[in-house]
Symmetry: C2
Subunit: 335 residues, 2 copies
Amino acid sequence: MSNLKAVAEHSKVSIATVSRVINNDPKVSKVTVLKVQASISALEYKPNRVAQRLRSSKGKTKLLGLIIPDIQNPFFVDVVRGVEDYAYQHNFAVMIGNFGQDEKKEKLYLDIFQSENIDGLIVAPIHGKDKGIENLVKKDIPVVCIDRGLTEIDVDVVKVDNENGAFNAIDHLLSMGHKRIAFISGNFKIPTYIERLSGYKRALDKYGIAYDESLVFARNSDYKSGFEIANKILELENRPTAIFSGNNLLTLGALEAIHAKDINIPEEISIIGFDDMPWSISLNPPLTAVRQPGFDMGKKAAEMLYERMVDPSKKKEKVILKTELMIRKSTARIE
Amino acid sequence: MSNLKAVAEHSKVSIATVSRVINNDPKVSKVTVLKVQASISALEYKPNRVAQRLRSSKGKTKLLGLIIPDIQNPFFVDVVRGVEDYAYQHNFAVMIGNFGQDEKKEKLYLDIFQSENIDGLIVAPIHGKDKGIENLVKKDIPVVCIDRGLTEIDVDVVKVDNENGAFNAIDHLLSMGHKRIAFISGNFKIPTYIERLSGYKRALDKYGIAYDESLVFARNSDYKSGFEIANKILELENRPTAIFSGNNLLTLGALEAIHAKDINIPEEISIIGFDDMPWSISLNPPLTAVRQPGFDMGKKAAEMLYERMVDPSKKKEKVILKTELMIRKSTARIE
DNA sequence: CTGAAAGCGCTTACAG
DNA sequence: CTGAAAGCGCTTACAG
């Protein structure tokens, strides 16, 4: 790789001048700019971002960290795409860390990203009291939380109204006559699930149905857990007539369990999933689901991060987007 | 952030010694090591990876680039997970670039990653004559191609036997009596599709059926294209009795088109997809698909990249993994 | 076993 | 408008 020095020699100016040309310093004379630019393209010079970043820790080199809980979850993939979309348009590179719901791994990525001098971070905290992220915020590193916030500290966040999303789903089920509705949840350390549970309870309340703890199952938020929990539910003696599953992967896992037992949806059991998927219509049957605008969330988060980088003293902002209940064919009315 | 100097002062040694401790230089005395380590933890010192990388471009800081065509495609997500799995175990950070089938974007990521001094790159080239990647290889930057190779230059690659994968799928269809099999493909610039087409042709040959070009449709490898092409196919006057779709997303899009028209699978049309998905069993009907071991491919690629970094003069290697036809319920025998 | 010094490729006051 | 020089946080010969 050619470097500043090579370009400087080629165009017979100092490296300082070359640097100025690269950074569009208006003080450089037209002639010099042209000369240097010619050398730059002749030598195919590309600035070394590592050196740039080391030198000026001021967002010059545009590196953005993105830490997500599970890249297998299509919702987070949408988030990634949204972030990337904004980043690409604004010439940021994105460094992605996928911690797979593993707290140690999340911490590792937090450390690495910091050591990489990222200009800012978008992260879905593993829980509401995430010390690692709190520290970053305290150090005034721009941080935007996505999907979940932080309880102990004021921070920018983009999330969805989980409470209402869950409420609407359960309300829909209750309105169709269901009374025993199982909830397949992820770990209740994760704020989203707490909120979804409270929406579940509020809907029950509305219909005067007592909350039955034995209908709520929390494990990891992955395919396997969805499969296993659904199996358990299907074997309950007084089997619930409907399932509300807490995320994409749990839904897909539950679906496999139901199909493996040849139980018909929605005739024998209804199911609503939190998180819609592009192919929900092609599932058996077309899945009724709570849609979250993942792409928009990612994009918005990137935008807010950028604004925070530009103005670090800006008031922290909470953006709460709406969910939408996509009614398809996985729920049926019962007596 | 505290730096080397702070640690040096705290433990009353030179920064050179602190650096040696960090890098496990055996020459440092036990006493000194202990003293320095105490300071390191007291100050919560974390080496600045940017500075490390700038100083020694020898894989010390362990940063790996991963460029994939489409993060929405679950197959590539598996690849990412495989790469990450290996990387995490070997203390590499992974920088991911998703180019969304956009050649300009791929080039941009190639440039950025180079400017970031990555130690090595795993990439699925957009086509076989990708100059940008060729250049990296020529500069002796460790590169492993995944899913697709390069035609003009010798390079490490991990891929799948696409020709046989497609052959088996078509053979299965032909053995069930199908004669008009449409192929929904991605762009034929992409080597995988060329190979899949040739498997398609070889199977036809085996059954003595003439290749009919009008049954082959190539566009982008995304959901929307799958949907649109399937719509076209379904409206053909002499409608094919089966569809072979070239990737995950195309399959899902095609499925939506078929369902939207209330056409029954497999009674009215059979379909086999290239790429299996965890939730194939929950599709309507359970999808017959060609399975690629994405996770293993990613893992293997990361491993090969590591070996290449350790021994740059190592002979280039081609690893070709097998596909597996997962027979479920989306195909039926016809007269 | 340890330290002083050079240098990785840049940016940015400072001086002219 | 331009250049010489310091410095970002490290590593690594070189010397002792």
